[in-house]
Amino acid sequence: MKILVCISNVPDTTTKITFTNDNTEFNTSGVQYIVNPYDEIALSRAIELTEGGKGTVTVINVGEAANDPTIRKALAIGADDAVRVNAAPRDAYFVAKQIAAYAKDKDFNLILTGRESIDYNGNQVAAMVGEFLDIPSVSIIKKLDIDGDNATIEREIEGGKEILTVSGKFIASCAEGVAEPKIPNMRGIMSARTKPLNVVDAVDAEAVTKVTKYETPAPRGTVKLIPADQTESLIDLLHSEAKVI
């Protein structure tokens, strides 16, 4: 089984998000980058599914050379090889088109992504790649089992879950529950240095969205503290002042 896992290079989850240039650009100064946490879940499941010589895992990233340390981290976790499409990612449409162009003639049985990237929070790339390749896509899955050519998937829905099956090639975006994220061990870190990281040229593609400005949430006023023995005052405030109950 050949699995392709799409990974994003994102700011560490503890990053304080600030912007520069009149709030038109994300302030990258001092930011540590990591493999997008949901993509790590997807990668970990891919490794589990191919363990013991049952297949190979390739990771793909669309980005510039600065992303290579993050890609090496994915190799350290256990991917067999990596591909970087050499282009600054312009938007999800552009990125999905690059991934689809690469995957088109490579005969992957399965493509996985994380449910969303923690920077732009798009849930877009998986379903877009599915559409470009004309294969089924399943978004935000909680569980993935493969038996030969058939997969059984649990997908989250509002207030419950849906269990579905799919045969043949497909793409899915993974959420918590699909796998425990694997932590690279020393052998993984050593071998990651020599595993192949192939850089390929981008195909012609346009962007259909453009972020022009960022805003940060309006700060809240000072907290109104209520003594612990006056819970009825809290109920009153929520009812008559905040008007939420």
Binding site: T13, T14, I17, F19, P37, Y93, A96, I118, D119, Y120, N121, Q124, A127, M128, G130, E131, F132, S137, V138, S139, I140, K142, T152, E156, I157, E158, G159, G160, K161, E162, I163, L164, T165, V166, F170, E176, V208, T209, K210, V211, T212, K213, Y214, E215, P217, R220, G221, V223, L225, I226, A228, D229, T231, E232, L234, I235, L238, A242, V244, I245
Partner: protein, 330 residues
């Protein structure tokens, strides 16, 4: 004098049904789509797929849909991402719609990107406001897991917007909706996924689109202490949620984990009990309209972003809060 425009854009909203009914988040998406149709001086068309009674379809008129396309083909009775996307895109083309609105629900998140590719449309998912159409078409959407918003221009001719639950609200706008049957060719290859079972927790409020949420963290010490959290949530009609350490320890299911690597929510009221307020947790809940924090540590960072707070032990405060709520409800 009327402002010159090349062409007013036409609007189509996808209305997702669950067991033949529309939820509040659907009426919210219709209200939002109606406001955009008004911006464009056009009428609003809705498309429903699956088994929905005419009386339920008529309900969409209340929020401003003047036409409802009803797709009731047998093979589309249950959700098939690829086929639903094809049908919605076909309807958009037939209706000449250039703006497609969906609710940013679990299914909406799977559909919107496929529709966007079919129509070569820019997609803004997680929209929180009406688009600004002053020269450019730009949409404010959540980014960095609730730590920021990105003003995103949709530069393509066609546009797709997925609206976050509770961002716009339900707005009545009584219109008499006409219902039309709609059929579109569905390729066999569009039916690749097959639903085997749908499991719904009928006694619980669904978290992603809940208006009220009661959430608890490690301060509760163990899963056996969640009874009072569920009782409080039950009295309020709220969904229950939890912090990451709690779901990591399997005290509560992953589906309840809110925060940067769980789900982001924006309820009207978020009550955090025994949660210190790590930056990753705050990211997922900071767009809640009102935040109440109950924590025994007065230095807990959560108090800095709360509207109301009680410094005290959850095991003493929550039972008293339950009593006060019972008294309030009479």
């Amino acid at each position: 004098m009327r402002e010159f425009r090349d062409k007013n854009m036409s609007v189509l909203v996808y209305v997702e049904q669950a067991e033949g009914k529309f939820k509040k988040s659907v009426f919210e998406a219709v209200s939002y789509a109606k406001a955009i149709a008004d911006q464009q001086s056009t009428n609003l068309t809705a498309i429903s797929i699956g088994d929905v009674a005419d009386s339920e379809l008529k309900e969409l008129g209340k929020y401003g849909a003047s036409k409802v396309l009803n797709v009731s083909a047998d093979q589309l009775k249950t959700f098939v991402n690829q086929a639903y996307a094809s049908v919605i895109a076909a309807a958009a083309e037939k209706e000449g719609a250039d703006i497609i609105i969906l609710s940013n629900s679990f299914s909406g998140k799977g559909l919107a990107p496929r529709i966007a590719v079919k129509l070569k449309a820019g997609l803004a998912d997680g929209a929180v406001e009406l688009p600004s159409t002053d020269g450019k078409f730009s949409v404010k959407k959540t980014a960095f897991s609730g730590k920021a918003f990105a003003i995103t221009d949709l530069t393509s001719a066609n546009k797709v917007i997925a609206l976050n639950p509770n961002a716009f609200g339900v707005k009545e706008n009584a219109t008499d909706a006409t219902i039309e049957n709609f059929t579109a060719d569905v390729k066999q290859s569009d039916l690749g996924t097959v639903i085997k079972e749908i499991v719904r927790a009928t006694d619980k409020v669904s978290l992603p689109d809940a208006e009220l949420v009661v959430s608890a963290g490690r301060g509760l010490k163990g899963p056996e202490n969640w009874g009072m959290i569920e009782e409080l949530a039950g009295l309020l009609g709220a969904a229950t949620a939890c912090s990451k350490p709690v779901s990591d320890a399997d005290w509560r299911p992953h589906s309840e984990h809110v925060g940067q690597t769980g789900i982001a929510i924006s309820p009207n009221l978020y009550i955090a009990i025994g949660i210190s307020g790590a930056i990753q947790h705050l990211a997922g809940v900071s767009s809640s309209k009102v935040i109440v924090v109950i924590n025994k540590d007065p230095e807990a960072p959560f108090f800095k972003v709360a509207d109301y707070g009680i410094v005290g032990d959850a095991f003493e405060v929550v039972p008293k809060l339950i009593e006060a709520l019972k008294a309030h409800k009479g």
